[in-house]
Symmetry: C2
Amino acid sequence: MKQSRLFTRTLKELPKDETSFNAQTLIRAGFVDKLGAGIYTFLPLGLRVHNKICNIIRAEMDAIGGQEILMPALIPKKNWLTTERWDNFDALFKLIGGNQKEYGLGATHEEVVTPLLQKYILSYQDLSVAVYQIQTKFRNEPRAKAGLLRGREFSMKDLYSFHPDEEALKQYYKIVQKAYFKIFERCGLIDYTYLTYAAGGAFSKYSHEFQAICPGGEDTIHICDKCKIAINQEIIDQHHTCPSCDNSKLRTAKSVEIGNIFKLGTRFAKPFEVKYTDETGQEKDVVMGCYGIGPSRLMGAIVEILHDDKGIVWPQAIAPFSIHLLSFKQDDKATTLYQTLTTAGLEVFYDDRDISMGSKLADADLIGCPHRLIISDNSLKQGGVELKLRAKEGTEIIKLDKVAAYFSK
Amino acid sequence: MKQSRLFTRTLKELPKDETSFNAQTLIRAGFVDKLGAGIYTFLPLGLRVHNKICNIIRAEMDAIGGQEILMPALIPKKNWLTTERWDNFDALFKLIGGNQKEYGLGATHEEVVTPLLQKYILSYQDLSVAVYQIQTKFRNEPRAKAGLLRGREFSMKDLYSFHPDEEALKQYYKIVQKAYFKIFERCGLIDYTYLTYAAGGAFSKYSHEFQAICPGGEDTIHICDKCKIAINQEIIDQHHTCPSCDNSKLRTAKSVEIGNIFKLGTRFAKPFEVKYTDETGQEKDVVMGCYGIGPSRLMGAIVEILHDDKGIVWPQAIAPFSIHLLSFKQDDKATTLYQTLTTAGLEVFYDDRDISMGSKLADADLIGCPHRLIISDNSLKQGGVELKLRAKEGTEIIKLDKVAAYFSK
């Protein structure tokens, strides 16, 4: 894409009313715009990143047998009453529609997915089954000051699994854990992420969170470096040692929750009467699990973690563009190169604007595409185009006719 | 995809509480599930169709320079007050959040997109510009009985264009008209669709709707068969003849609105003070247009229009799968063929279930994939696999080793 065509631009000033680093940076760099506290518009660059994160998550959910659906945000009051959450879910936005019908705005979707699956699960042959969606969630957060880390409106991938028994749930729960680590690996956060023991519910001692070490994070975790797992501060009173190896030398760190998984047992299956007939003809309750990752929150966490003082350092897989091509008074050659690279299927953001090289360099650093190519009198004198990786120091010169091959290898 | 894996199944009985043909059929065929009046979950088959429609729309919007963004549904009250629509937009869902902050749930997005673009439009060099989103809309419809044709929650592609003057708007308005016809062509509705003159607003005599002839439609149009345009019933009192050729022999038909385009002029630019500096240094108001297509509504319209008494007849481009492969006691050969076809990049829905051939045939007709392949003792005796097109009578036999080539040609 030609940068001159993009309707947004980077901003020189820090946005007022925004205290979080991730939102300040994403607003300055032109990825999102703030409409209200915890409410953001995704601009073209931001939407590209968001969609790439969603597609990575989607691929990993499909790989573990998840079937994608899309549930509504308007959830009738009666569904919330069935689970006794109408009056007990603090962050629920409530509204009244035509005919005085009341709705809770989807903050989570057990109240929709459970009765949905109830219609289709009859016998053991219909189990296990897992469905997921990537959808907009609404939560009436009293404080919404952490940018994309805690929105009033945000995107969520929520996977729900349905099993004949706890053993089958346990097995699938492990499979989801692995899939989550693959997602965080592909999104560049694997080195920062710890499977973290957190408070459970009626049906299991613990739930598990995926916490990424992050100075701006809202959580505190205690890490066992031997096992590479952690304990959330919220349950540290119960656990002073590693739940796996009993190691008592735990390292404390600030962190951000980038995923969580939860054994629901029959908490929702019971009120919605999700039962099945087993091999012997007996009627049994279905056992459930739920598994969340917020793509918009993950995007915010990545910015909090992967940046330097000049701007964002996007991992290749989720960068808005792989290559940022900067022309400095060499527009003919740059345009030809841009066309060559895009024809080769590469994602190129081409800064063809009539502004100073200093401004172009500052924008490229702020926006944070992994590869920067500069074409200028100087680079041509040296025999081609100058390549710099956003994440590393140093540059190299690549011949103009070798650039496409360099990136396609 | 193997049909045995799909968690949904076709339903034998018509859903109760659902009077619209499109929703009845889509529910029976397992494309959507009804959560409440005008509120539907998209199931795996339905989401595939919906996403294909969205991708066609997206491609055509990109082709006319639309830049994709994603705006929030929670729109602060002050934005609606600025345009005086807080108390004047009947279908607005209103809600109260933390700190007594009030929101209108996005029923349309002029209140977000206009102040957003105001931040970036400075001079004539920033114009014209067009942005769009594909996003969930909410409307507090008193009656929501038309299935996907009139939802309380529904998907919408809304494009907004910003211009230096009315002439530039007029030109772009024509470009969008053409893009819309391309979309309806790709979605199989071109033969049913008429550009229709409808009521305008303060800034133009008419708006334009795209109305598709449909017995179950809520609108009535008067068609000029010479010009292939129509007039909406709502303005027929002003116009008894074709606005283009003055022909008075107009044909009346029931129809469904599948798109609309509107010249907004400065209706929203003025209250949000979207101004620019022209070539001479003068400050001027920006002129806007808006353009809507609802992918979920379009999906409902396609079902209303393209079906027979056995079920849906999806156009190739938006069918959940191109090929429905039915095995009748030939699972080894069918599985091999399924693998061959999917490896060749074809989208195959493989009915590998252990049920009668009659049930498989009925499901295939109801679900409506364009190509049906049957592999059975009988077809093998005739030398291969039986192909039937959903939209046509008659079958032909294709040799097993020629099937992939047949579909790849």
